[in-house]
Symmetry: none
Subunit: 200 residues, 4 copies
Amino acid sequence: MPARHRRRTSGADGESRKRILDAAEDLFAARGFDATPTAAIATRAEVPKGLVFYYFPTKESILTTLIAERPSTEPLDDVAGLAVTGEPATALVNLDAALDRGGRRAMRTILWREADTHPAAREHLRTLRAYLQNVTVEVLRASAPLTAPARVLDSCATAWVAAMLSAAHIDRFRERDDRIEDLRGVARVVTAGLGALSTP
Amino acid sequence: MPARHRRRTSGADGESRKRILDAAEDLFAARGFDATPTAAIATRAEVPKGLVFYYFPTKESILTTLIAERPSTEPLDDVAGLAVTGEPATALVNLDAALDRGGRRAMRTILWREADTHPAAREHLRTLRAYLQNVTVEVLRASAPLTAPARVLDSCATAWVAAMLSAAHIDRFRERDDRIEDLRGVARVVTAGLGALSTP
Amino acid sequence: MPARHRRRTSGADGESRKRILDAAEDLFAARGFDATPTAAIATRAEVPKGLVFYYFPTKESILTTLIAERPSTEPLDDVAGLAVTGEPATALVNLDAALDRGGRRAMRTILWREADTHPAAREHLRTLRAYLQNVTVEVLRASAPLTAPARVLDSCATAWVAAMLSAAHIDRFRERDDRIEDLRGVARVVTAGLGALSTP
Amino acid sequence: MPARHRRRTSGADGESRKRILDAAEDLFAARGFDATPTAAIATRAEVPKGLVFYYFPTKESILTTLIAERPSTEPLDDVAGLAVTGEPATALVNLDAALDRGGRRAMRTILWREADTHPAAREHLRTLRAYLQNVTVEVLRASAPLTAPARVLDSCATAWVAAMLSAAHIDRFRERDDRIEDLRGVARVVTAGLGALSTP
DNA sequence: AATGAATGAGACTTCATTCAT
DNA sequence: AATGAATGAAGTCTCATTCAT
């Protein structure tokens, strides 16, 4: 006997809509988009099946909405605050922590998994990468004592972004502590490299 | 009008089996496992639908077989040969090229996409990562003129592996040339860092 | 040209579900469970194929539901009323007629055919047999003038139940009239035996 | 890797044929005809799949052959020997034992299960029933001291055949000992009835 | 705005049977 | 006489989506 959904007096408007998106985010991340039936989304959201299609014309549009409305990383409002003058390595690690704090783990999983198939995800990823690169350059510039050529700064940022993304995505099955320890080491190497390639 | 398959008298042995695996590899990489119907595999392999299940009891087992039989990266038989004494940055870039040459791009795409859902893929990825880390350490040791503490070498390798994987996987939608240019820069930073953190 | 089903707005509640069970009952009885495609059930029920699985998650569950919901024999509400004092043979024949009237022929066919393979059917059959045995004992006790030892009554009931089941199941391919004629003879023998083994 | 069947030097001719029939008999009895794939028959017979169709043009013909060649009950060669003058009840129980000894349990299971769908099985069952009826009459006539009218003898035989078939088929899920105990009781009732309805 | 029965295309898989060797 | 790869029709089941209420 299917659990009747008592006519939800829709506390705040759009309450159901949010529940649907929440459910979809969880399920898409856990099983993948293709392997998630809309019926499962409705069940987990505790709304009737029909309501899903009332809010979203297609299953695809649930994904699109998720990508559009739920940032994988909140824009950092105080990049300068992350800098630690004279200790760029610490600053980099801070940056990773701040980004990790701000974002939605599930959304990142979804974005990468679906990037091959859904242009919106691909596009989002491109933007994200560029943003990370810029922020990293900023943090390094504000923290490193020396002047480095733009190209060197860029390469350092590329290395660090790769390390962060690797830790978050590729190494997502490893223990969190191990990943952070690895990141510290990489930060040291990158900033040492930055120092060596800068003019005093 | 369905293309009748004239009874293919198994020209070479295992010919059909190979065709099926080839087709699956291509399609899984292009659309993802879930989005690839077994019928599409049969069509692309130019074998009748039933034959797919003659060789592989389930769709899942096609994926498992692919992961077991088709290495994402051939083991490098001459790691030492990649070293360039005194020029570790060049050596690193060589390493990336060698790995890229040896492996199957499609398999890598598949492995990462399905890692969340298929344990076999996850396991394979773990092994791959460890292998890359080891090889990178070897190459650096053989190329760098100075003695670096093990921890530093490890961190450098971690950084480089992250860069290679990033370039191959995360940045797979960018132009190939751009990615290689980026890798060169990262190699320079990493080796500079290695030098700075080593004892002369 | 596939018969489009105009969207049947569930006239009476559970209407479609009943149609599906009806169709399944007929077809399972006629061809057997294994030989009945779910598509045939849908066609006969005049519902779209998908609806069958909306109501029943698996084909097996259609059978289980049938066994659970559709009695092969209605419980007799007036056993005493079947008794004919002094004429136990007549009473026995009455009993058979009453049971035959109350029950669903198709369900019995299904139950016996699937008993080897479906535990639910086997269990149901066991219960049915015990019920028939009890009812027969009651009818005999109420109709026979003499006092018979419990063991004798039991054996008479066993004989009669065997005869009824044989007539209904094993001899189901013979003419109905022949079977009834046979039953009358058996009733006479059994009650004569009962008389002979009773104390006056 | 499929178990290669070493080219059986076909010890006695028809060895494979027998193995196939044996396997089919077991499997049809256990799972039913429809639920038994020809591949399973080949596997259990330890012959290659193709060989099944070398000996039998269709799956159906395996069943037909089984029914034609493998009697569910061997014809009793010494019916008279079963009689026990003056103790018809004992004689009846002897008869059941003799029949049970002679026959193939599996074949009986198959025959009843497939009777609804396969005419050959139905026909065989009809013949079997008639045979049992005749033999029972013979045994009773040879054992009972009194002369009974033919109709009474017939009814007694019908009752006994029903009891035997019930015990063998309908009660096949009960304990064997219980069934035999029941049969003894029924034999007593039937012979008592026979006595009561006979003229001295 | 909300609901859940209804719909049918299509997915994976099974299997009797064929046939070149 | 024997073999096992090949074939395709058909079966069970899933699911996005529609729609009357």
